[in-house]
Symmetry: C2
Subunit: 348 residues, 2 copies
């Protein structure tokens, strides 16, 4: 949060749009066989050789989706890529290319854009993605990034949201709620800093939460794991808006109902302790927090033995007939209707 | 430019993001065989059946790329699509799908977004494009649109920027400079209106110019025409930043030089008369004006008889050895070096 007064600042106006594009794209080497031609022509050229193509796009805007007072630009670049890759994994596909559209006001020097791109490039390297195009522009206010990701999958491997069947098991990867709590911790520290600029942030007890907020990882291991286990989910979605909202998407599109068990929802110990400290309900956080980028899917009960005991996967409920509705079964064995805003225990 | 005080205003906050997405995408029907699944899952699913895929993206920002005081929202939506399709045609391909990312501040009611989308949908209808995805968000200021377009082409049909050869002919479609002059006319009328809000815009003598600025059409007829004529260009690019800048792109990427003949540059009579009125040089406008969305390409001299006399195509020069440089041959038979900012006759 402290500004380095000696930092190097190269003005973007000096460099110009073409200069900036050349600067940012000069070092790009294409890795995928499907990337025939990347940056430098009117359009990128790709060849998926008969595989189906997955396409998704996400827009991140300063002041709406991120706050640069605690989100380092490198992390922002990394996260902007993750958000898109997560959507491709949620189709049981392999992301292959991205394009990056960027608008920046002149308050950002070239060095800031380099930081942002270093995060984008790192994500591309670790997730084996080619950056094949984009657009850069000045903005009248703030920073915004629109990333479009393409991926590939064989036709019969793709998993949609609409295939869940009655009696299927509802499975989630990893644990939930940490990213949202990380944001609460960072917001609190920002307020402390604003009140006293000499205060040092106290984040030692919240490292996992803050990391989940600032440097989320998309679950690229899950489509691979499922293939190894010989399991093809009947439906799948990524958890970006909170567990409750995503379960509702699956149920509505599959025309089914569900029972979700509160005591099965996977939570990290730091989520539980921080919820106690903040006087928040951990189930509410998991249901409505969002930004977890875990995967939620349904499997046929016959596949249960294949996933049983896997530390990455937790069975949290099962699919019911549509007319039974969508419910959370609480620890007290009460049946509460799921809503898109999540189940707010404190509001009851 | 006059505000209708009785217009219907539905607040976006009231509708919410999911409500808005449902509202905007409800009526979409997919037309392309390659569009397997559009809006409604984590990613769109496309199948190009072995054809190569063209991918391009463009970002338009209020206050930078457009001014809503004279750009109607419907036209803006239409133009945002055209800008992207033009890039696909410039690869000699057929555009097939788009995604639309939109950020709007709360000063825009739902009806404004509907207007914008009516232009997007019209463009999709007339150019046979499927809208298969997108993202919507609030913004802290103004309106921005990021459109990504996908297209398809057989591998051996794609035309890159880097294939121009010595002696090839330089060919341009349509005429140049009108869109830029249209912008000058609109800017002038805006100033008149700001000085005197009762003034009525006088646009009768500039209808072609204003239409080229507000409602450009991408040249979807050209890849079809070239196929009919049996001509495959050796290189191609669309003219978005002015003829000069695009010729330089082709020459640099093809490692060649060129001679461009001033007296061959196609100009509409309205461009000539308005340049006289505004005391501007029409060659400068054509070289540096931009936003024409015409196509510039090179062909082998053997193909000249096939295009000769075609009213859509004008030969404006030829390709030379790289060491001869890139030049404009003026009407006075002087050789002037082409620069990316265009050749400014008035500055000499």
């Amino acid at each position: 949060m402290l500004e380095d007064k000696n930092e190097k600042r190269t003005s973007l106006a000096e460099l110009g749009e073409f200069g900036l594009i050349n600067y940012l794209t000069d070092a790009i080497k294409l890795k995928h066989k499907s990337s025939i031609k990347g940056v430098g022509d009117d359009a990128a050229v790709l060849d998926f050789k008969g595989k189906q193509v997955l396409l998704t796009t996400d827009l991140l805007i300063e002041g709406i989706h991120f706050d640069l007072s605690y989100m380092p630009l490198k992390h922002l670049g990394y996260k902007a890529v993750m958000v898109n890759l997560s959507d491709v994994y949620a189709m049981n596909g392999t992301p292959t290319q991205i394009t990056v559209s960027l608008a920046v006001s002149n308050r950002f020097p070239l060095e800031a854009i380099e930081e942002l791109y270093s995060g984008i490039h790192l994500a591309c390297k670790l997730y084996n993605i080619d950056l094949v195009g984009g657009d850069t522009s000045s903005s009248t206010k703030g920073l915004l990034i629109n990333i479009t990701a393409l991926g590939e999958a064989k036709k019969d491997e793709i998993v949609y949201r609409n295939g869940a069947k009655v009696n299927d098991l509802l499975v989630v990867t990893g644990d939930l709620g940490a990213a949202y709590l990380g944001l609460q911790v960072l917001e609190r520290e920002k307020q402390v800093f604003q009140a006293n600029p000499n205060a040092q942030p106290e984040l030692d007890n919240y490292t996992y939460l803050v990391e989940r907020q600032l440097k989320p990882e998309a679950r690229k291991d899950i489509p691979v794991l499922l293939k190894e286990l010989g399991v093809k989910p009947t439906s799948m979605i990524d958890i970006s808006d909170g567990l409750s909202s995503e379960i509702i998407h699956i149920c509505k599109q599959s025309e089914v109902g569900c029972n979700l068990y509160e005591n099965k929802i996977p939570l990290d110990p730091q989520v539980i302790s921080t919820c106690e400290e903040f006087n928040m309900d951990s189930t509410t956080i998991a249901l409505s927090g969002g930004e977890d980028y875990e995967l939620l899917f349904t499997i046929d009960t016959e596949d249960y033995p294949k996933i049983k005991g896997n530390p990455n996967l937790t069975v949290i409920g099962h699919i019911t007939e549509k007319n039974e509705g969508m419910h959370l079964i609480t620890r007290a064995n009460q049946k509460v209707e799921l809503t898109a805003q999540g189940w707010n225990a404190m509001a009851k």
